[in-house]
Symmetry: C2
Subunit: 368 residues, 2 copies
Amino acid sequence: MESTDRISTDNGIQIEKFKQLVGLASLINSSLDQSVIRMRAIEAAKTLLNAEEGSMMLIDRNTNELYFDVVAGETGTLLKKVRIGLDQGVAGWVATNAVPQIVNDAGSDPRFYSAVDKAASFETRSIIAVPLLFQGRVLGVLEAVNKITGPFTQEDLDLFVSLSDLVASAVENANLHEELREAFFGIVLALADALESRDTYTGGHTQRVRHYCQSIGTALQLGKNDMEILLLSAILHDIGKIGVRDAILCKEGPLTREEAALMSEHSKKGAEILSNIKALRNVIPSVMAHHERFDGNGYPDRLSGEDIPMFARIIAVADTFDAMTTDRPYRKALTPAEAFAELLRCSGTQFDPDVVAKFIPAIPEETE
Amino acid sequence: MESTDRISTDNGIQIEKFKQLVGLASLINSSLDQSVIRMRAIEAAKTLLNAEEGSMMLIDRNTNELYFDVVAGETGTLLKKVRIGLDQGVAGWVATNAVPQIVNDAGSDPRFYSAVDKAASFETRSIIAVPLLFQGRVLGVLEAVNKITGPFTQEDLDLFVSLSDLVASAVENANLHEELREAFFGIVLALADALESRDTYTGGHTQRVRHYCQSIGTALQLGKNDMEILLLSAILHDIGKIGVRDAILCKEGPLTREEAALMSEHSKKGAEILSNIKALRNVIPSVMAHHERFDGNGYPDRLSGEDIPMFARIIAVADTFDAMTTDRPYRKALTPAEAFAELLRCSGTQFDPDVVAKFIPAIPEETE
């Protein structure tokens, strides 16, 4: 009786653990953000195995090292700089051999690597470590340390291997997504650069406008999502110029009325270029409206005040500030201080006064 | 004794089921491809619940319908066209109410919708259906039909809800990834289009070259990955022209030696533009080499024969074919038949004979 009871209770615990695992798996896999996955994986490791600490290390294939790369604010920011060779520590061994390990007396294991403990002012007693395997490739190591309720067991290892399979998928998906994101931003930036290369006077303009927008976005405490929309809008604001002829785009001197009209098509054209891209629908309004004026005398729609999308009002200031502080064929660059004065003079007519008031303190006077 | 034994056995089965679930979850989450996820989710539903059939339906938010969109080759291609209103069937009810349901006698349930059975020549007896929920939003419905070993139970429902949580994350991640992919391709295409808008004679060139490359890629039975590299290369092959001045790009008449030299920089320039984008590293060689000639008299590196990357040899043929079959300032377009003759004449000198031999039958004579 007693032994079947125990088995039944143990089984009950196992079921609970597996239910817990499935819940944690859903949570981990519901993000494509590497740092979110990492934090959740660490929490899952601790919860599932009743461990004091958890960690997730990834392999840097350039240096063949494991790194923690712990996100800011997390306990153990000290670990951030620690890198472990693939021949160091239990984690290094697990990464190299792709075999899960339980070490219930860390001090007596010759593989134990105390440098990490020192860096984190921590005392490791027991370790359970499993490789993060995706389609036969080792991506990193998932580790839990110091089981609170006794030694790590084979059941713990089974659960942990299952968890690491789920984490490995999440890590791989996040990698793929991140690579695509990089490609997306890369092509956008590369093309903005290439566009500028036609006009020697505007070289670096897009990058600087992006930089100014980032400063003001930070000052406005924009969330991650809004910041991304603002920066994409900044990068793409002049993309409509891709269709403008050199004779107008690069003209050294004032444009005729007709040329100016063609040139001012670029904001509309830009919006048009982006119109078929679902993921960029939030960017279009600011690209469209970055030449609107606060007093309603801008283009293309003569919008005024708060009818102009917020991010377009920001780009308008950043764009003009950069134009003023760089040399042009027909005049030398203003100093930042002179340009600030000009922004203030046109605050309320050309520019949103709130944006100007936020912009000036956000940009250092000796700006690049 | 007997009853604890049974509990212990039942628990043992539950543990096995949960282990199975975790394994299936890893499998489902190891893809960002909607159709792969769908197939694996259906297989998982069948396996986990001992059911005869499984299905996964997603909600089309434009029409408020559930659709199967079953991939080719799968059993039940007949279902592909079936769409279910959110007020129809058990699945519609589950999608609308976001509440899991067991229906062990389908015939007597007023919600049962027999049209799907008719479309698939199938007889539904029992149904278990759960909403695919991601952060409170219903993405679709996961369903298993006709349990082989008896009625569906509460334990089945628990497992199925866990599975659907995991599938929902996978579906959502795939959606996000797909959206980013669309954005990436969208911006690349939009910019290629915009680039062409500077030169009235080449309008649509990029799209046509892509189309020809797709035909020849199909004829060569390229895998999905290679096809993608080929098509991206085709779209981006002239991207280096973004930096070429109009005076050269749009000149109506032969170029001077100097102008031609500048123009021929575009393949190198294109490779340079793409060089910082990790995800495009496979595209660069073909962009770089699409003006190399099979006999070694091309540019920029005077490569010859098989030293020229395969996809560059394909693009060279597609590119020239399109140039020949469209009007130019200095000559009318050739007919496709005339252009084919010209390709054959230059086969082995300008072009790879194998590519020409594959190209001609792949392109219909009355090509657009």
